[in-house]
Each structure stands twice: as structure tokens, then as C-alpha cells.
Symmetry: C2
Subunit: 458 residues, 2 copies
Amino acid sequence: MLKKILICTCVLLGAYTHAQKDEAVIKSIYKASLTNGKSYDWLNYLSNQIGSRLSGSLGAERAVEYTKEELGNLGLDKVWLQPVMVPKWVRGAKEYAYIETVPGKTTTVNICALGGSVATPSLGIKAQVVEVHDFEELEALGKEMVEGKIVFFNRPMQADLIQTFEAYSGCVNQRYEGAVQASKFGAVGVIVRSMNLRLDDLPHTGSMTYNDLPLESRIPSAAISTNDAEVLSTMLQLDKNIKLYFKTNCKQLKDVLSYNVIGEITGSEFPNEYMLVGGHLDSWDLGDGSHDDGAGVVQSMEVLRLFKTLGINPKRSIRVVLFMNEENGLRGGNKYSEEAEQKGETHVFALESDSGGFTPRGFHFNCSEANYQQALSWQELFKPYLIHYFEKGYAGADVRPLKSKDNVLVGLVPDSQRYFDHHHASTDTFDAVNKRELELGAATMTSLVYLFDKYGIQ
Amino acid sequence: MLKKILICTCVLLGAYTHAQKDEAVIKSIYKASLTNGKSYDWLNYLSNQIGSRLSGSLGAERAVEYTKEELGNLGLDKVWLQPVMVPKWVRGAKEYAYIETVPGKTTTVNICALGGSVATPSLGIKAQVVEVHDFEELEALGKEMVEGKIVFFNRPMQADLIQTFEAYSGCVNQRYEGAVQASKFGAVGVIVRSMNLRLDDLPHTGSMTYNDLPLESRIPSAAISTNDAEVLSTMLQLDKNIKLYFKTNCKQLKDVLSYNVIGEITGSEFPNEYMLVGGHLDSWDLGDGSHDDGAGVVQSMEVLRLFKTLGINPKRSIRVVLFMNEENGLRGGNKYSEEAEQKGETHVFALESDSGGFTPRGFHFNCSEANYQQALSWQELFKPYLIHYFEKGYAGADVRPLKSKDNVLVGLVPDSQRYFDHHHASTDTFDAVNKRELELGAATMTSLVYLFDKYGIQ
């Protein structure tokens, strides 16, 4: 009996000591990120010295060079580039649009071409507008009402959803598939209300598809600012015969060579088990991509820097992957996963940060119940850092192809209220990122990687 | 036995139905705030049409009129003004300061007078500078090293504290009492590092005291931007004989008449039990006081508007109080509490919002264990709104005088990471407030008032 008590006491004491040590390590991680972090300086360079980084652009190329060089300075075990062919879409000259109420009487509105769209003819398009809120409404109108017109998708993001990503999911099919649906009924163009919860003058771009539509059926597609969507809608209520003119100058060029940027700390016990942290290096072209996803890039780099600087030697190999082309193709994410499979690399864990550099609130877990329960058991360790949100959910687009039956995919979940004010718009800039919020995110990611490495995947 | 089971089932069913109803009411509160809220429009007016509202200023006077009128439009049972004499301090012309390394060689630095400070002589002050980090260091230097010099308090806010208000508490005595301490040793002026966690060029004002120092011992006191504090400190390390020149033009005038603005929905069952929600109407003069505390003002007004618009009839009397003069005197808070005591009004609950209009995270409770436990029992109801922080703590300056043994004081706790970027600085402006974050705060306050009114104070 005494022996049993002793063993029991030892186990409890052991667990207690472990917990104490974890508490101390996590404290040191947050302290290092908040007082001597590099993430904000890196982001400053990416945003203000390089700027926007659309796949195939000079900015993307420079970002590859810069981040490879910076990773090279961290004393990692390996740093390399993984080649990947990416689409190259260019916006061309700034877009122009106006509403014409009577011939000669016009009101300018703010639009931008959607990524992947074809351009309007060089003289632009002028046509009557038909406003719809979803594909069912479009179908009900049918060819008779739609042919020769511009389809205006005007379903707003739902303001009473607390998680703004849910509001986004509820709307984004208009942007992504609007052109495919509208062209079925002979529309000549598509205008989509920007995916933005607030009313302002900024058009928000984003990707769209033509699926396998033949070239001649591809109609130009653009986003309109929320304020102007309201104006257009109001004018249509007054007079359904008003016309919209718009001109876009974008072009899809041939695919070009680009790279995922990868760095690794090789694991001391299980070097062939990989734990990945990552964000995407490419961005849209209107802002400088500070939140989407400069933040995720520099936070992911910071995870490995913190491991090195704090002397935490992981048992498993920790990789940072800066994915190319998340925005308009996901070629980087797919390529990474394909090569990992070819090489037989086992990715036991992958954590993506691609929801903005705002105050971190917690994580979305895509994993087994056992691993989820293990993560829940660490909640108390995160409480001092106000990390409280541990839910099952979507981890992110770039890590998704890595999903296996046994591994753990995680998405960092920052506060989402301001995200869509900036997302894919000209206001996604460095000044919209708060240094502390960014650094708290990096520390939160590092702490979770530390715990999963230490205690293993179930 | 059967009877017991039946009773038990009824009680459980009752509790279940109650919880369901609460869930529905709270959902309707959030929805109304996020989709048809008034708080953002009110704040727009307060910030952009009225602007800064320092006690005794025209802005403060107009804010009293405006908010009284707006409360008057809500169909409350009573709206009135409570007279209170407030101090009137004016900044005068913009301050000016430079570092002089050798005669004629100067570097301009950004300063602002602290609220309540006397001005420098009209020609300004030029003197050597002695840098200290706390009062102990000052005392150790003593009269010999301090007399005739400017004392430069340069203790930074601690970046590794997660809650930025703790970092503020750890520094603010330099600003508040610096002049009193420095004048003991014959200093001629005080310069304080701005209470700001980031490095930028903005001086942050705030209140300071002379206690009962005789007039002739009162030395001028100003804040310097964090960037310039770093410059000054670096220059002092290079040469301790450099001089600082500064000129301030502020003045303490006679007290003037102002008002707390009060509105009330009279309770249906316990009209003599008061539940208060409030923020302060006055602000500092450098920005427009959108976060501090325009946000708290409009959120508090919104609480009563939501009760009215959703047809929630409270059992207790709900009062909104927009306090005057929190920033430099607390005369409004004290006056309200004094009159409440004189009239024998029982305040069972008071909720203050004065920590910025950022995403709400939860509450600080200053109350009995029983009431705290009751609040904890409601955590699940708040979970869908990502409200997770239920801790004992400080509720706020304006409601503090109302504290009794039995009542519940609560402070709304928003995300604090960005707060001190704006606090008391020229960047505390409307554009720094996000509409959704503000509205979520108002809904969170309303939900808590609803629950405490329904279930009562323990």
C-alpha cells in the first residue's frame, strides 16, 4: 500500500513538475515574443519595402528572396526553396465604372476586377443591370430577364453573425462563381458587392472561377464597394432602366516559376515526424497584404526563431513553410503536400495562420477526439494569455491537403471583427497591424507547437 | 416519491425553459445591436460633430446638450441633468520643446502639458536633465543632483504584461505624482515618458497632482512621446550636460458649472432598486475621446435603448449616467454618489464601460462571492458571443464611490492591446473605433444588466 501511495505521489508530483515547467516555458515564449520579437520588423519590411505580393509579381519574387535570407540568419538546420509553377494574373490600369441614369448623367462608383477575371472590351461594357441576392433568384429570372445585362450580386454579409468568417462563407459564392452562373443566362458582366461588413468606398478583390467555360463565354467580373452597392441598389429601385458602365484591364498570362520558402529545425528524437507552421507569402495586389497573410508568414517564422533563441530543442522536426499562391490557385499548398507524399514524409501536425494579425483568441482543431481532448487539457496553460477558444473547425487552405487520418491540423483563430474591413482591399496595410497583437499570435502558435511536440500526437 | 419526482422535474424544466428564454433574449439583444444599433451613429456625432470634451469646455457643454436630447428621444421614463461644479484647465497654445546638445544645436521633441499642470514661465524653461525610473532612484540622487534641473521620468510600460492596464498601473505614478516628488528636491520641471506601449511620436496627456504644495513650489509637468523619450535618454547617456528646453501655456481657471446626464427606465417591481450603466462624457483635449470614453457613453445609452426597443421591461430601475469630469477630478462620479446617498437611493448594481470600444472579452466583478458565482453560472450564455473573461477586479472610477457591502460593481473588459496606442493622445479618434466591436460591447453590457435584473442581486 505504501508503495502504491509512493508511486501515486511520484506520478502526481511528476505531472505537477511538468505542468510547472510548461508554465515557465510558455511564459518565456510570450515574454520573448513581446519584448524581443522579430515578427513586427519582418512584417514592416515585407509590407513597406516589398509591398503587395501577387503570385508571379516582382513583389512575390522579392518576398521569396527576403524570407529565405531571413530564415537563413536564424541558424536553422535547413533552409530551401521548393519550386512551383503559379498562375500570373495582372490587374493592368485602374478600373473605372459609373452609373448612367439618363444619357450623359453619370455617377462614378468604385470597382476592382476580381482575380482571374477577363477584362472588359477596351471600350468597356455598358448595359442595364439586374440585381439578385443569390443563384436561385438569378435562375428564377432566367434568360429573358438576364440576357445582355450585367448581373449585380448584392447579398450583404450577415452582420449578426459573431464570427465574421461565417458571414464571409455565407456570401463568397457570389464572388467565386457569380460569373459562371450569370453567363449561363447570357449576362455580359458581373458586379459583386464587396465582401465587407462595413459601409465604405473600397472595392475588395478576391478569386473567381470560370470552371470549364469556353473562352467566349467568359464574362468580366468585378467587385463594387459596399457604399456604391447601396447606391446602385437604390437607383435600381427608382428606375430599373439605369445602366452601368465598367471597364477593367486585367489579363491572365502564362504560368511562371515561383517557390514555397521552407526552413527546418531537425528533431532530436523523431526527425522523420514533421510539425509544420505556415502562412502564405503571396497576397492580393491592392494593399500590401499585411494581414493577409504577411502576419501569418512572420508569425510562422517567429515560431522557429523562438525555438532557437530560447534553446528549446524539439523532438520532432519543426518546419516553417511560406506557401506561394494561396490566393489564386493554392499551387504552393498542393505542391508541398504532393512532394511530402512522394517522399513519404509524415506530417503529424500542421498549424496555419491565415486569419489576420489580430489579438489571438484560440484555435480551430481538425483532428481526432483524443488529440482534441489533449489540447483541451492545456487550456489552463493558455489562460494567462487570454487564449480561450479551443474548438473543432477548419484549419486553413494551405495545410488542408496534408490532412491524414491520424494527424492534427490547427488554425490560429484571432479576433475577427476588423478582418473584413481590410481583407483583399487597399486598406490591408502595415498600419492596420498592431505590434502586440501580432506578437501575441506568434507566441500562441509557438506555445501550442511546443506542447504538441513535447507530449506527442495521440 | 412520485410527487417529489414531479416537483423535481418541474423545477428542472422551469430552469431549462428559463435558460432557453435567456438564450433567446440575449440573441435578440446582440442582433439588434449589430444590425440596428445606434451606438456608432451617436459616437460619430460626439466625435466628429462635437469633438474633444474636456471638463468646462464648449465641447463638454455641447455633449451634455446632445446626449440629453438623444436620451430624450428614447422614450425613457425620466431624463435629467445633475449639476456639478467642475475644474476648468486649458492647454493654451501648443507646447514646444527641444534638446540642446551644444548652444545653438537643437533637436525638437514632441511634448504636451499634463492636465492640471502649471505653465512654464512665458520664456520657457531650459535646464539640464536628470533621468530616473522611479521615486527611489530620485530620492537616492537627492537635492544635490536634482536641484535646478528637469527630472525626466522614463520608466517604460512593461511589454510582457498581457493586460495592458496592469502595465499602465505600473507606470502612472510617474505622471500623477512626478511633480510632487521632483519638487521636493528642487527640480524646476518634470518630463514624463508617455504612457504608451509602442514607440511613436505622440505625447499622451493625463492628470497630475500637486497635492497641497504651495503655489510657488508647483513645477510644470509635461509628457514626451516614447520615441523622443528614447532620443533624450540616448543623448543623456552620451552627454549628461545636454539641456532640455520646454514651454507650456496651460492654465487652471475657476471651477465652472457642468452636469451629469441621466436617463431612467423605472422598474416595474422594485422601482427603488437602481441598476446603473455609465461612462464618462468628458475627455482629454488632444483627440476626440472616441475610445476614452465616447465608446462607454454611447454603449451605456444603447443599453437603455435596447431595453426599450426590444420591449424588455426591467423589474428594477435602470439608469444610464453619463458622468462629467472623470479625467481630471472625478467630480461627476463623486457628486452622483453623494446625492444618491442623500436621497437614500439604493444602487444594487453599477456597470461602467471606460476601457475603450474594442472587442469585449468579459467583465471585472467587484462584489460578494455569491454574486460572482451567480455571474459565473451565466458564462455559457455568453459563450456564443466569445465573452469568456469573468474575473474579480476593478470596475471603474466613476462607479467606485457607489460601492456598498451588498451591491455589485462591474467593469466591462474589452480587448486591451491597442488601447494605450490611443489613450489620452491625438489618435483617440473615431476612425480608431470599429463599429462591430463597439456594438458587441453594448450588447454584452445589456445582456448582463438583463440577467442581473431578472435574477436579482444575491
